[in-house]
Symmetry: C2
Subunit: 197 residues, 2 copies
Amino acid sequence: MVNYPLGTRNTQSFGHKSKPHLDTFSRRGMRLEEEINDANTYYLVNNIAVIYKKPTPITIVKVDYPHRAAAKITEAYFQKPSTTDYNGIWHGKYIDFDAKETKNKTVFPLQNIHEHQIKHLKRVIEQNGVAFFIIRFASLEETYLLPAHIIIDFINNNSKAKSIPKQQIEEAGFLIPTKLQIGLDYLAALEAWLGVD
Amino acid sequence: MVNYPLGTRNTQSFGHKSKPHLDTFSRRGMRLEEEINDANTYYLVNNIAVIYKKPTPITIVKVDYPHRAAAKITEAYFQKPSTTDYNGIWHGKYIDFDAKETKNKTVFPLQNIHEHQIKHLKRVIEQNGVAFFIIRFASLEETYLLPAHIIIDFINNNSKAKSIPKQQIEEAGFLIPTKLQIGLDYLAALEAWLGVD
């Protein structure tokens, strides 16, 4: 790792957050993202799936072109994302998901899920894609794959609810196993949901 | 459009180019990208497909957090991309492609296609995804959808070739029609290739 000068931050692992705050740098959040990226690398090199995290969308305003050096962006801003963080293909199926984390032990707060994500995942479902959330209860070290339609239905039926009970996630979701080499093997949970081809 | 100060450039529409040069700002290149983005917007709002251009991957080094203002990125660099520019879902099918342009009238120069793109599209094909290139002969105002396996096979069989004859693209590819409202209706060409569901 490079050491950054004082007053600056390493933001390489920025997720698709519309308003980057200090919270964004939460170690936990970073860890979940890194674990998913590691699993994706494992799936990729073993020809299991082709799934990537999308780059953070950015509006570039100024670029310097120093002689004999790489172009340097000197002014840019975070854009509001319109999709989820991850998509790709697995066994001919279009895969689309976002990863979320909570320290809460009994409920998952719905404020973590943004309207544009729900809208995007609804569209994916309409096109017969596979849409889900990866939800981690960090304090409990439990991570679930939850089909997106469960969240969508819950919001439709409980428009004033601020959270979804963990029990419902346990019942409708699929616990993601941790495996040597792969780490967070979320495709195993996906197989448990969809069945193996 | 915002007017940028002298000495700066608007680079919002940067594609996945590993080495941004002045060429990147070619109006023609911008136009093809914009036409594809416009088609994608049409497909999205009409529930035909969910296909996006991926953001340009960037390594962020420094971010300023001014009070009461949006976070400002003050140092960042272009990353080498590892995939293609566009992916998404259409009728349950995973779609993955890149868009290329040449002023040449008789051949398409293969230097436009990067190794990481070929590698990625091979993986997509192995997962039963739909992989292709959109190739524009700008001087002729003709744009083709060319299945990726045609390019892959051509490169395999002609390892020293620096270009693929236009005639081969005409024969193996599908001319993309321009339509009122949609613009570059590349999904019509995709239907011509795959058949309609």
